[in-house]
Amino acid sequence: MADDAVPLPWKADVQAARRGDPSAFESLVRSVQRQVYGLALRLLQSEAEAAEISQEALLRAYQNLHRYDDSRPFDLWVLAITRNLCLDLLRRRTKVRTEELEPMKEVLPSGEASQEEGAIAREERQSLEEAMATLSVDDREVLALYYVQKRTTKEIAQILGCAPGTIMARLFRAREKLRKKMTTEEAPR
C-alpha cells in the first residue's frame, strides 16, 4: 500500500514524549510553535492572547498525548486544538476590541524577504495584512492556513473539522472579500 511508505517524522518523538521524555516533547513544540502562534495571532489579533493560547494549546497537546492518533500529522492535531481554544476565547469576548488591530501592523509583517524588499513592497504587504485583519475570523483562518501556512485543502479540512469540498468555496469567498477591500483601498490613490 502506498500509505505504508509515508514517513511519520513526529512518531518517534510522540512515543518518547508519552513515556515521559521531555526533550522529545520539546522537539515537537519547536517544530510547531511558529504555526501555532501564527494561527492564534491571526485569529485573536492580540500578541499577549496569542502567546497565552499557544502555551495552553501545547500544554493540552501534552496532557492528551495518550489520546492522539499518531498516524495523523501532529501539527494538524495541535493546530486544531489551537483553533478551538481561539474560538472559545473569541466567543467569550463580549465585544470586538478594534483597538487591538493597531499592534498588528508591527507584529505581522515578518516575511523572510523583508530586507531585500523595497519600501513599496513592504507597504503593499502591510496594507494586505491590514485588509486581512478586517475580515471575519472564518475568512482569516482559511486564508492564513492556505496562503501563509501553505496547507492543502485536505489539511485545512482536517484542522477545521469540515468536508474538504467546502474549503475551496470558503477560500473563494474570503479571497473575494479581500480583493474588494484591497480595491477600495487602492481606488482613492
Binding site: 498516524s71 501553505k150 479571497r175
Partner: protein, 167 residues
C-alpha cells in the same frame, strides 16, 4: 464578448485550479475576465509572500515549565484506568455491603452455581459420551476444522482490514 455572458467567478477560479474548462477558455478571449484573473494572480502572489510571525522567544521555555509540572501522559492513562477500575469495584462492594438483600442474593447465587454446576458437568459428560459412542464427535471435529480453514482462507483473500485510524 459582452459582460452578461461572463462565467460565475467561483466557476472561473475553480477551473483555474484545475487548469482547464470552458470558463477558462472564455477568459482567454474576454478582456474583463482576463483582468479579473490578473487581479487574482497578483493577489495570490502577495498572499503567498506573507509569513507567520515569529513566536515570543520564551514560548518553548514557558510551555516546558508547565509540562514539567504535569504527570507523564502514559502514567496518566494507567492511573485513569486504575481509578475507573477501583471506583467500579468499590461501588459494587459498597452496594453489596450496604444492601442485605443483594448480599443474600449473591450467597444464593454462589450456592446454586455449586449445585447446578455439578448437574451441568454431568450433562456435558453424558453428551460427550453419546457423541463418542455414535462417532458424532469425529464428524463435528471435521466440520469445525473445515469451517475454520474456510474462514481463514476468506480472510486471507479479503486482505488485512485497515485500522480505525486509517479508515
Amino acid at each position: 464578448m459582452s459582460a452578461h455572458l461572463c462565467p460565475d467567478l467561483e466557476v472561473l477560479f475553480a477551473e483555474l485550479e484545475e487548469g482547464e474548462g470552458p470558463a477558462l477558455d472564455h477568459a482567454a478571449e474576454c478582456e474583463a475576465c482576463a483582468a479579473v484573473l490578473e487581479d487574482h494572480r497578483l493577489l495570490e502572489k502577495d498572499l503567498y509572500r506573507l509569513a507567520d510571525p515569529l513566536p515570543p522567544p520564551t514560548l518553548v521555555a514557558s510551555v516546558m515549565a508547565r509540562v514539567a509540572a504535569e504527570p507523564v501522559p502514559q502514567r496518566r492513562e494507567v492511573w485513569s484506568g486504575l481509578a475507573i477500575l477501583m471506583t467500579s469495584l468499590v461501588g459494587g462492594l459498597g452496594y453489596l455491603v450496604l444492601n442485605d438483600q443483594a448480599l443474600s442474593r449473591l450467597g444464593t447465587g454462589v450456592a446454586s452455581f455449586v449445585v447446578e454446576g455439578r448437574l451441568f458437568a454431568e450433562g456435558v459428560l453424558s453428551g460427550a459420551r453419546a457423541l463418542w459412542s455414535t462417532e458424532g464427535l469425529a464428524v463435528a471435529a471435521i466440520l469445525a476444522f473445515l469451517l475454520v480453514t474456510s474462514l481463514a482462507g476468506l480472510k486471507r483473500l479479503a486482505g488485512s482490514a485497515p485500522t480505525p485510524s486509517e479508515a
